[in-house]
């Protein structure tokens, strides 16, 4: 059963086809990595899936429903969660208030539990903007997880995380796997290889390849276009 499906999804900026007729499916419960060079259209693609970026052409289906015409908030209400590539937290509010807004309730135990999943429970009363960059990323992840989504979209979540934090992140995602379907944009190949059931490679707005981590690793096109390891 497919949780997410796009048909001919396209985004045009002026003359640029940032995302070009992408047909994509994501099965329930899977962890799927979306990789590709900078400017490949990854953020634009998930932006259109979540409703943040207007669609030029094509359709988005979520859990059997055509959500193309729905505004972002309505898609989120149907069970998507979105974490931004460029950290988008409430910088002037404390961590408790950040997570409470993500949860939609201010129940103390629930909020602290959500913060605890990324190891920030002891900082609940700190102002989010005062945190180190890596901790702000973790807060953003905690806000996505707190929504208890059916589809969690993570746009380069490990950017700016320290080595140990990346390990904790991997553990958190493995914990969610099964209940939550995860669409992960990620540059760190060891994270991609450790977590994903399947990988899609995007290049200049189109799908270049799709397969298991092993298949992608062995794919000559991908080697040339992206991995550059030869």
């Amino acid at each position: 059963m497919m949780l997410l499906e796009t048909k001919g999804l396209t985004r045009i900026y002026g003359g640029l086809r940032a995302v070009d007729k992408v047909d994509y499916t994501l099965a329930k419960g899977e962890i799927h990595a979306l990789i590709g060079p900078n400017g490949a259209g990854k953020s634009t693609f998930v932006g259109m899936v979540s409703g943040r970026i207007p669609i030029s052409e094509g359709e988005v289906w979520f859990d059997g429903e055509n959500v193309t015409a729905l505004p972002a908030h309505a898609r989120i209400q149907r069970g998507m969660a979105y974490t931004f590539q460029i950290t988008a937290i409430y910088a002037r509010l404390n961590l408790f208030d950040n997570v409470a807004l993500a949860l939609g309730k201010r129940d103390k135990a629930t909020v602290l539990a959500a913060l605890d999943r990324v190891g920030l429970a002891d900082r609940a009363s700190r102002i989010a903007g005062d945190l180190a960059y890596g901790h702000q990323r973790l807060l953003e992840i905690a806000m996505g997880v707190a929504q208890n989504p059916r589809l969690l979209i993570l746009d380069e979540p490990t950017q700016g995380l320290a080595e140990g934090e990346i390990e904790d992140f991997n553990a958190l995602i493995k914990e969610l796997a099964g209940d939550t379907t995860i669409l992960l944009i990620e540059h760190n190949m060891s994270v991609v290889m450790a977590l994903s059931d399947e990988i899609t490679v995007l290049d200049t707005g189109r799908i270049l390849a799709r397969g298991t981590p092993d298949e992608i690793h062995a794919n000559a096109d991908v080697q040339n276009a992206y991995l550059g390891t030869g």
Binding site: S50, L101, R106
Partner: protein, 314 residues
């Protein structure tokens, strides 16, 4: 005490102090404070939109005036008693704010300020143009005898004071409660990061719409209260000056704080009162004080207190 309990204690404590002041203040200050409380109600309404939602309106005088004219004309021309006339004032302000919100919220940023300014100017000009009913520039006086509720004359100073306090207390408690509920929290989210709030699944437009209507209706309640308690309705209250006042009061008192609006109004009222006793150029002194405050207390009086000493202040 948890946060909510402290907040309740603060607001009820403030109201208790105001009740005591009603009995102990000399007549002159009691009259001043009654006026301050009505204007603070206006500022409380303005603060919902500006302080908590982050939307800067330059046209709130139209909502104040809608309540004032709606109520005043219902009494003056329609012969209604205070309570039904007050309700009509509320309905006028709520209807006007709904219409303005639906049109102005299609714009963002600077455009929102300009659209609200233009709407307010139209309301002002309409009040002047319909001089036959509104009294135009001169306005009209509401007959003393009609300004009473169940035999209690609102012209009597102590009664008037407690009527003004009731108006203010209701507005204060409604907004304080609102800011503890999900709706109010989301307004703060919209103010702090609109995109993030939308991407958490909140309907930002509907929340802003609600904020404009609540803000405009409270402003209208203040306008209706002013008409009833002070007996005068005039176009000055619809002028741009009365759109700027609440902005100054809220900036002074502390935007996004529940008690800041009252502090801001009281501070400015007594500043001008004091300065005008010292010199004819009293607006200069008031202006200088405002400049000093914006230089050294950017978050406003209550905002600075919150930032420095009392972080839990609602």
């Amino acid at each position: 005490m948890n946060l909510d309990a402290r907040s309740v204690a603060l607001h009820l404590g403030l109201i208790a102090v105001l009740i005591v002041l009603g009995f102990v203040l000399p007549t002159y200050h009691q009259g001043n404070l009654a006026r301050i409380l009505v204007l603070a109600t206006y500022a409380v309404g303005y603060n919902v939109l500006f302080g908590y939602t982050g939307l800067l309106s330059l046209g709130h005088a139209m909502f104040f005036a809608a309540g004032m004219y709606g109520c005043g004309m219902a009494m003056h021309l329609g012969g209604l008693t205070v309570i039904p006339a007050f309700v009509i004032g509320l309905i006028c302000a709520a209807a006007l704010s709904a219409v303005v919100a639906l049109l102005a919220l299609r714009t963002i940023g600077v455009a929102f300020m300009i659209v609200t300014l233009m709407f307010a100017q139209s309301v002002y000009l309409t009040a002047l143009y319909l001089g036959e009913w509104t009294g135009g520039d001169e306005g009209f006086v509401i007959a003393q005898a009609t300004r009473q509720i169940a035999g209690y004359a609102l012209t009597e100073p102590l009664t008037r004071y407690f009527a003004a306090l009731t108006l203010f207390a209701v507005a204060l408690l409604i907004t304080a409660r609102m800011m503890q509920m999900s709706f109010g929290r989301v307004l703060i989210g919209v103010r702090e990061n609109e995109e993030r709030t939308r991407m958490l699944g909140y309907d930002v437009f509907r929340h802003k719409l609600g904020a404009v209507i609540i803000s405009g209706t409270i402003a209208g309640a203040a306008g209706a209260g002013y008409a009833v308690l002070f007996g005068y309705v005039g176009a000055t209250f619809a002028s741009v000056q009365y759109s700027i006042f609440p902005l100054l009061w809220v900036l002074l008192g502390g935007m996004g704080t529940t008690i800041g609006p009252l502090i801001g109004v009281a501070f400015m009222f007594y500043l001008i009162d004091y300065a005008s006793g010292v010199t004819n150029a009293y607006m200069l002194i008031a202006g200088a004080a405002l400049v000093l405050l914006t230089l050294f207390a950017r978050a406003g009086i209550v905002g600075e207190i919150r930032n420095r000493w009392v972080p839990w202040l609602p």
